[in-house]
């Protein structure tokens, strides 16, 4: 069975833990010691990961870890415009980082459309006692935009495998729905549906609060 390739982009405010999540997920325990002082990511960096889907198929994720700082966001589209999935990360102890997630959802829906699979990850659950983002608000918001919400801790290596596995299942399902079974495995195949953003709920330009 051919390997299904998916492109995934990690987005979120600076220092919410995107790079730590990715390094922990891709390299696992080979990361000798978790470091809470990861150098900042400039623009974007790349990693890949193989995993098995429930249907027995193998998937290969090409994951782009993007920079958190606003200045670099003009470059964002080259990383997410043909992405199959996005992991939007916030820090549960930082409400502002959760507000940024809303901005990313709007941007993705506007530019990529409805077909990108989105997972919202509340990171740093090891700091639960300092939580600043109400759980109900996060879960309601995720449901309202058709995203899955998960909790993760890069530090404790918690929730990461599950988050990517679940996201991969959704990406595979979506691809099979839009292109039919069999087409999913074509390496390097790009979805042709990027321009078909005619969903009436997609925010238009006038929604310029960001």
């Amino acid at each position: 069975m051919p390997i299904a390739r998916f492109k995934v982009v990690l987005l979120g405010e600076g220092r919410v833990g995107k790079t730590s999540i990715l390094l922990r997920y891709v390299k696992g325990e080979r990361v000798p010691a978790y470091s809470d002082r990861q150098v900042s990511t400039l623009q974007a960096s790349y990693l890949d990961k193989r995993l098995s889907l429930r249907a027995g198929q193998s998937a290969s994720l090409s994951i782009w870890d993007t920079a958190g700082q606003e200045r670099f966001h003009a470059l964002g589209p080259i990383y997410y415009r043909d992405a199959d999935g996005a992991l939007l990360v916030y820090d549960i102890t930082d409400f502002e980082s959760f507000q940024k997630v809303r901005k990313w959802v709007r941007e993705l829906r506007q530019i990529v459309g409805q077909e990108i699979a989105i997972t919202i990850a509340g990171n740093k659950v090891d700091l639960e006692s300092s939580r600043a983002v109400p759980e109900a608000e996060a879960l309601d918001y995720a449901a309202s935009v058709g995203a899955t919400h998960v909790y993760t801790s890069a530090k404790l290596n918690k929730g990461l495998e599950d988050a990517f596995a679940e996201l991969s299942e959704r990406m595979a399902t979506r691809r099979n729905e839009t292109r039919g079974p069999g087409a999913a495995g074509l390496p390097g195949a790009k979805r042709s549906s990027i321009s078909i953003v005619d969903d009436p709920v997609a925010p238009k330009k006038k929604d310029s609060c960001c």
């Binding site: 600076g14 990861q38 900042s40 400039l42 623009q43 200045r71 589209p77 941007e107």
Partner: protein
């Protein structure tokens, strides 16, 4: 160098041509401060001007940071300070010199004072890496540079008095201001100066290593993706400290070196790995270029790189059109170099 620097009026042209070939470690702090205009060429008013600049820096820190309660800071300034506070501990993480509390405070002060004084670009991630290089040079002004990177990076900041560290901060601020002065467009909205440099590298690569250029095209790797960090951080993330500092000797000696000469350096650097890259698929190209095998690089490798860059610059600098795109060129940024939100 001793003779040049000891003159009543330092001959800057002579200093530039000497520094181009590398500066001895213990002289570097002085030479870089001359090249970046922190030390005046004329010995007569050098001390007074240095003291004025240091006093101005100290006053600026008080004015923007100490005297301003958090509640009176604009939302934008708060965001800037927040970003700098996040990045200060992430500057060369784990390096003893930068872990010191007073050095952390210094990094925050210098970056924030600079950002407030330069609202057009403000603070952009990666500037902290540039500052780190300047600090390594400044605090190692009195030691032989024959040891390892670890020795330079392991300087014990607690051995410096508060007054000494204040002077380091002020001089670093002056150097950073001068360094970034020629590069402001690298860091403003959409980073046009940085885009221009990438276009220059693209034009050069097309001419000097067409096979590599074509291979990157074929596997869908954009120069923007692989050289962005090189240009945003002036190669600080790609090279070990001493090798990087040797590279900077030349870039600082060259007039406007980081804008005029730097594209040649980047092109030569990329070509250096041409054969390896041409045997790689897209994913491997990205992974390879993110963690280049340069950990063992020293002066020899850098000087080879600089000669290659120099040859490119002499081949092409009299043909200004070489850097321009042909009409049918596709921008390395693709059609989506657009504001997204």
């Amino acid at each position: 160098f001793a003779k040049l620097l000891g003159a009543d009026e330092v001959d800057m042209d002579a200093l530039r041509s000497l520094a181009w070939n590398g500066v001895p470690g213990p002289r570097r702090s002085d030479v870089w401060r001359f090249l970046l205009g922190v030390l005046a060429p004329s010995a007569g008013d050098r001390a007074a001007r240095l003291e004025d600049a240091r006093a101005a820096y100290r006053a600026a820190v008080v004015a923007v940071l100490v005297d301003v309660p958090a509640s009176e800071r604009s939302a934008e300034d708060q965001q800037t300070l927040r970003q700098i506070l996040v990045d200060a501990p992430r500057t060369c993480p784990g390096v003893p010199l930068f872990c010191h509390d007073r050095v952390q405070a210094l990094i925050v002060n210098v970056l924030y004072a600079w950002a407030v004084a330069h609202p057009r670009s403000g603070y952009v991630q990666g500037m902290n890496d540039l500052l780190a290089v300047l600090l390594v040079v400044l605090v190692n002004n009195d030691v032989p540079w024959d040891g390892s990177d670890a020795q330079l990076l392991g300087r014990d900041a607690s051995a410096l008095s508060d007054a000494e560290l204040d002077d380091v901060a002020a001089d670093a601020y002056g150097m950073l201001t001068s360094l970034l002065g020629g590069l402001e467009d690298h860091y403003t909205h959409r980073q046009p100066g940085l885009q221009k440099t990438i276009e220059d590298v693209d034009g050069l690569l097309r001419r000097v290593d067409a096979d590599l250029h074509k291979h990157l095209d074929d596997v869908g790797v954009l120069l923007l993706q692989v050289t962005f960090r090189w240009i945003n951080c002036l190669l600080t993330r790609e090279l070990p400290m001493k090798a990087l500092i040797r590279l900077w000797d030349t870039c600082l000696a060259e007039p406007d070196g980081f804008s005029s000469f730097f594209p040649y350096v980047c092109a030569a650097f990329l070509c250096h790995f041409s054969e390896t890259i041409r045997n790689m698929e897209s994913e491997d190209v990205h992974l390879f270029l993110q963690t280049l095998p340069t950990a063992d690089w020293g002066n020899d490798e850098i000087e080879t790189l600089l000669s290659e860059a120099y040859i490119l610059s002499t081949l092409f600098q009299n043909a200004p059109s070489h850097l321009q795109h042909e009409p049918d060129d596709i921008s390395p940024f693709g059609p989506t170099w657009e504001e997204a939100g």
